[in-house]
């Protein structure tokens, strides 16, 4: 009988490998098994690339950008309504980006590790819940380790609650490519490029425009503060630039 890896090693590799490709990756590694050391090294070299490939397949950059935008806006809104002094601090806006980035990371990983073929609205909401849970956890870790990076007490929970609502709405409007019906057995890239149904595309375009306007306003306000220039002029110029860029991009 051919020698194989230990059950513990195989179980560990199985946990780390995304379920969509677990079967073939475990089988291939088993077939190439020569020694425990070779198995471990090969698994360590292979699994990160398998995860990256899975993320590339499941993540839609446009939807991720939209989500990053609503997440940042949620924490910005929470800071605005609870403690505006944070926005004036040197790294205040950067600190707000930490929970937003952690949530995005949670959503991306949850998408990559989702079992393919199961479609439900609950699953779409579950991902932002996991992302937000990760953001709260990161805030907990930061508040015990580095108080300068953690958000003030009530901003993180309020921001998380708001981002949960907005992020779930984005997920319901733009379900991941792997969750969409693939009746025609079309390659994933074509589905991504098609951008879902016509209604979703229109909402997506509207969302992009809204994001451009709000993003330019926030960046303009921040730049005007830093450079002590008149706010309306800076915001107006940035708005014009971003609108011109969007128009140029659409030909």
């Amino acid at each position: 009988m051919k020698a194989g890896p230990s059950r513990a090693a195989e179980a560990l590799v199985a946990i780390l490998t995304p379920p969509a490709c677990r079967e073939e990756v475990l089988g291939d590694l088993y077939e190439r098994y020569r020694s425990p050391r070779q198995y471990g090294l090969e698994a360590m070299r292979t699994i990160p690339l398998v995860i990256i490939s899975r993320i590339r397949r499941t993540a839609d950059p446009q939807v991720l950008l939209m989500q990053a935008f609503v997440l940042y806006l949620s924490f910005l809104g929470a800071a605005w309504s609870i403690d505006r002094t944070l926005l004036q601090e040197q790294w205040g806006l950067m600190r707000l980006a930490i929970p937003a980035a952690t949530t995005i990371l949670g959503i991306v990983l949850e998408d990559a590790y989702a079992k393919p073929g199961r479609r439900s609205a609950l699953k779409l909401v579950r991902r932002p819940v996991i992302g937000v849970g990760l953001a709260l956890l990161s805030q907990g870790v930061l508040s015990t380790g580095n108080l300068n990076l953690a958000l003030p007490r009530w901003i993180a929970p309020y921001g998380c609650a708001m981002s949960l609502l907005l992020s779930s709405a984005v997920r319901l409007l733009f379900p991941p490519v792997t969750d969409q019906l693939q009746g025609a057995n079309a390659p994933a890239l074509w589905l991504k490029q098609a951008g879902g149904s016509g209604d979703n595309r229109a909402v997506g375009v509207a969302f992009q425009w809204a994001a451009t306007v709000v993003g330019a306003a926030i960046a303009g306000a921040w730049m005007a503060d830093r450079l002590t220039l008149p706010k309306p002029r800076v915001i107006g110029s940035l708005l014009l630039l971003s609108i011109a860029f969007q128009l140029w991009k659409r030909g």
């Binding site: 490709c21 073939e24 475990l26 090969e42 070299r45 590339r56 397949r57």
Partner: protein
């Protein structure tokens, strides 16, 4: 029919490996074949997986899970085959490679081309 994007060198190697393996194209065999084609370069299994996924997303190859086998610890294989689009892309790449070879042979001389042809033949054996 959608026109295939131009292929990268590694994508060409993977497509060639699938083409040559016929019905036995799956992760391990494709990796061995690509390793053979790309030598002396070391190729990782993960790099082959990433490329196979990308080729599948582009519609150049199709995949399916076979039955589990005991030599794989009761796990199934993911088998691959070339799609029409993949065959066309590979043909275009081969034609381009042939054109490059012709130009090089023309510039550097037929003697040089014959010499190199012999050397490659020996290495392939």
């Amino acid at each position: 029919m959608a026109s295939p994007d131009s292929l990268g060198q590694f994508e060409q190697l993977v497509l060639t490996a699938i083409l040559s393996l016929h019905d036995d194209a799956y992760g391990v065999t494709i990796h061995s074949k690509v390793q053979e084609l790309a030598r002396p370069k070391e190729i990782s299994l993960g790099a082959v997986y990433i490329t196979l996924d990308r080729l599948e997303d582009k519609g150049l190859v199709a995949s399916w899970l076979s039955d589990p086998t005991p030599e794989r610890g009761g796990r199934a294989k993911r088998c691959y085959r070339l799609e029409a689009l993949g065959e066309r892309a590979l043909q275009e790449s081969a034609v381009t490679a042939k054109r490059i070879w012709d130009v090089i042979a023309e510039v550097w001389g037929k003697e040089w081309a014959r010499e190199w042809g012999k050397r490659w033949g020996k290495e392939a054996r």
